[in-house]
């Protein structure tokens, strides 16, 4: 071996909200804990979360409680969520938010000094604890600044590319460091995957280079199941202009503060298509919508705050109908609120400071005066590693997953704000259960042959001469996924995509990355191809199998919901010959209490 392995009870892969929260909990439980992250500490994608963290604290509207939150989550997920996870999440989110405050986070306040909560799509009551529009930064910095005093080792700018197993249970991981290109071997009794999403599989995305489906693929390669992979959330509002910023997120908070969507004719088109499931909860008129924004408890939500899957599709329909904006989006207008409030410019700058900043500096546009151009962007994957609702353990003993790389909470569509709370609730649980699992394990054995083979394989792109470069394959895959496995899907294109992914996988095995091992992005991209291709194949295959339209999956050839598919989720796993097998499995059953709640709240 190149060096002595690092040894931990619990090894956490990823240092966003879920990974940090897991590490803090594992460490508090007495486990020795190491965290590996691809970037510097504090830079993970959690930092980009803007709107807030959903927790039914009931500070702004005392009618809110976990029961309303869980039914909102299940409805938003089109009843494909793991109901137990949705229940745990709704019950524990308030405690996790308050605990963050005890660690130094400062949320915006109500008049009587409690945590303020804001409106968001699909949430019945104002529920999102927030700090302006930079809640993610507040959260990650709080966890980081708390975590560095907890005896946790942080390994920054390391990428895990292989999990190590011992007789079927997890035994550690193999990583390389970006800076010097050296390998590192980790021996661990339990591993928590908290690697985030798969956004880089698509061309237009709000995700950074890190989100290549690493955790999904590590788990899949180790024999765990992936579920719900057909459900990729396209956030309705990404920037579309200038080209270099295409895909960067424009927070839903803009709509929460009264922003409206308009087509090129200036029509507020969201009123034209309100799904039956939300008819009773949605405003009839612009006037009622505005009353909701300013806190009238009798008013219903404006249609811009319908769930993300629906809003994204309405935008696509407008663009297809030739009513888009000049650069292929639609308009998002918050400046209009000057008709309603006298100090609107200050108000917008105060409520949406980073959006103001982002448009001013990147697009040269003043959102307090002008309309923004926005369009859908790949944002989040509901699908991920199938885990136990209580413990977050996958089907591989000792292997846990939390946050975006785990699945079950969000079903067919995630509500905005449910991600930050997901990270904390299930990050904490993963850390807790991983530490308990580690305590019960005796010595674990590292498979030296697997370590050697893993390192040898990783070096192949550097040593291979005359092969194709990795960027070309990455770009072709992103174009393919965007065009054929995007917001609107159809059988023939999904089949073509699966075939093409197979061809790209063959090409990926023969790439060359010139240069040496130190900070070599070409080599890193070559190593990223395997996870990108695995998650892409899972998305396409699961999307093909689900012959219906539900939540984030829209099939042009099956535009309606189908009763059968409302009862099943789709699992992808590695078959005996190494091929990907996708099959249906029943949705986790709902408890009688939850069934009663769902019926009661409609």
């Amino acid at each position: 071996m190149e060096q002595t392995p690092y040894e931990y009870d619990v090894l956490v892969v990823g240092a966003g909200g879920a990974g940090l929260r897991a590490a803090i909990e594992a460490s508090a439980a007495g486990a020795s804990c190491g965290v590996i992250c691809k970037s510097l500490l504090g830079k993970a994608h959690t930092v980009m979360a803007e709107g807030g963290m959903a927790a039914a604290i009931g500070n702004v509207d005392e009618r809110d409680d976990w029961k309303v939150h869980v039914t909102d989550t299940l409805r938003g997920g089109q009843y494909l969520s793991n109901p137990k996870m949705a229940e745990i999440h709704a019950k524990e989110a308030p405690e996790r938010a308050l605990e963050l405050e005890a660690w130094g986070a400062l949320f915006d306040r109500t008049k009587d000094g409690r945590i303020l909560q804001r409106n968001f799509g699909g949430h019945r009551y104002p529920r999102l604890a927030h700090v302006g529009d930079r809640t993610g930064l507040e959260m990650i910095r709080t966890l980081q600044d708390h975590g560095i005093h907890r005896g946790i080792d942080f390994h920054m700018e390391y990428t895990v590319f292989r999990l190590l197993l011992d007789d079927g249970r997890v035994a550690g991981a193999l990583a390389y460091d970006r800076e010097r290109g050296r390998f590192r071997v980790y021996r661990a009794k339990a591993v928590v995957l908290a690697t985030g999403g798969i956004g880089r599989a698509f061309k237009i995305t709000s995700n950074s280079w890190e989100y290549t489906g690493d955790g999904h693929t590590l788990a899949y390669d180790a024999g765990a199941d992936l579920i719900d992979m057909e459900f990729v959330q396209f956030h309705p509002t990404g920037m579309v202009w200038p080209p270099s910023v295409r895909g960067i997120l424009v927070t839903e908070g803009v709509r929460g503060e009264g922003g409206v969507l308009l087509n090129s004719d200036g029509e507020r088109f969201m009123f034209d298509d309100i799904p039956p499931l939300y008819k009773d909860q949605t405003a009839d008129s612009a006037e009622e919508g505005w009353r909701y924004v300013v806190g009238d408890r009798d008013a219903r939500r404006p249609p811009e705050l319908l769930t993300r899957d629906h809003v994204a599709r309405c935008i696509v329909d407008q663009i297809k109908a030739g009513k888009g904006s000049p650069h292929g989006g639609v308009y998002l207008d918050i400046a209009w609120i000057k008709e309603k409030i006298s100090n609107s410019e200050d108000h917008i700058r105060k409520k949406l400071p980073s959006m103001y900043h982002q448009f001013k500096e990147l697009a040269g546009l003043d959102i307090t005066k002008e309309r923004m151009e926005v369009g859908p962007t790949t944002h989040y994957v509901m699908g991920g590693v199938r885990v136990d609702a209580e413990s977050q353990m996958s089907s591989v003993p000792g292997l846990y997953a939390a946050g975006e790389c785990a699945a079950g909470l969000h079903g067919a569509n995630r509500l905005g704000g449910n991600s930050l709370s997901d990270l904390l609730v299930f990050g904490k649980r993963a850390g807790e259960y991983a530490a308990a699992f580690a305590r019960e394990q005796g010595d674990i054995r590292l498979d030296e042959a697997a370590v050697e083979a893993g390192m040898k394989e990783a070096l192949e792109p550097l040593e291979r001469e005359g092969g194709e470069g990795p960027y070309q394959i990455q770009h072709e895959l992103q174009d393919l996924m965007q065009e054929k496995v995007g917001i609107v899907r159809i059988e023939s294109e999904l089949e073509e995509a699966i075939e093409e992914i197979g061809r790209l996988s063959d090409r990926a095995k023969a790439v060359s990355a010139p240069g040496n091992r130190e900070y070599n992005p070409g080599w890193h991209t070559a190593l990223d191809l395997h996870p990108l291709l695995v998650v892409s194949e899972a998305v396409a295959r699961a999307g093909l199998l689900r012959r219906e339209s539900r939540g984030a999956q829209f099939r042009d050839d099956y535009p309606q919901k189908d009763e059968h598919f409302g009862k099943v989720i789709i699992r992808a796993a590695r078959g005996a010959d190494g091929e990907m097998v996708v099959e249906e499995m029943p949705v986790e059953p709902m408890s009688d209490e939850l069934t009663g709640l769902v019926e009661e709240m409609g």
Partner: protein
């Protein structure tokens, strides 16, 4: 816009000999410096090292010196730069280079660990929560906006020119101290360490840090000067000094 010339710092390892290399790439509407660097990386320098993440000015990863100015590359629009000469891109100079545009900022993470962490007062309400006025939140929000890009550290002459890394924590960590000291719930006292271990006295308020902050934090006026004043009134106030002599206080 069309073909634009760049002079980019290339260096192989901390001990390696560094130098500028010239590149040309097409610049189109709306491009930022980071886009151009990525384009060059894709077209003609596959192994050019650059650190980045969010590409929206929120994570603070892509700090560098563009035409000699400390900047986030993702927030520096090409259209704002002069076109009559090549655009120079080099790593932050106050830190050791790892490779090309990537430098070793680990010192900052070590410094932060040494600063007294947050500790809240007991909860105000029986349900274990606190009551805080919005204006008290807003007072420290300015400091909590910091994205840890370390551009303020890069430009601070105490670190950059005088290399007093062992005696001086730099503007980023005065902002961090200010966020903690002015946090409405915090109970700890960091004035002694600010004076003795963190070298706040070395700052002679030239405001270079404030000028380069991409989050527009008024570092010098709102963080450093108030901390200096607190240190002065704690340690140099004659009445307090007298009190310490008689009470046998250990703080000096």
């Amino acid at each position: 816009m069309a073909a634009t010339e760049f002079r980019i710092w290339r260096q192989d390892g901390a001990e390696g000999e560094g130098g500028y290399r010239d590149y040309t790439t097409d610049v189109t509407e709306g491009m930022v410096v980071l886009d151009a660097v990525h384009q060059i990386q894709a077209e003609s320098a596959n192994d050019l090292a650059v650190r980045w993440n969010c590409k929206a000015g929120k994570c603070g990863s892509c700090s560098a010196e563009v035409n000699g100015n400390p900047r986030l590359m993702c927030m520096t629009r090409m259209s704002d730069l002069p076109t009559d000469r090549p655009v120079t891109v080099e790593p932050m100079r106050a830190f050791p280079v790892i490779r090309d545009l990537v430098c070793d900022v680990s010192w900052n993470y070590e410094v932060k660990k040494k600063i007294e962490p947050f500790e809240p007062r007991p909860p105000d309400a029986e349900d274990g929560t606190w009551r805080i006025a919005q204006e008290d939140v807003e007072r420290v929000q300015e400091f909590r906006k910091c994205i840890e890009c370390f551009l303020c550290q890069d430009v601070c002459h105490v670190l950059r020119d005088h290399h007093l890394h062992d005696e001086f924590v730099g503007p980023r960590f005065f902002v961090y101290n200010a966020a903690l000291e002015m946090h409405p719930l915090d109970t700890r006292d960091r004035l002694a360490s600010l004076k003795q271990d963190e070298g706040i006295g070395y700052c002679n308020i030239t405001k270079c840090c404030t000028k380069v902050c991409p989050e527009h934090i008024t570092i010098t006026d709102n963080a450093i000067i108030p901390l200096k004043e607190r240190v002065v009134s704690e340690f140099y106030d004659p009445l307090k000094k007298l009190f310490r002599v008689f009470s046998g206080g250990s703080r000096a």
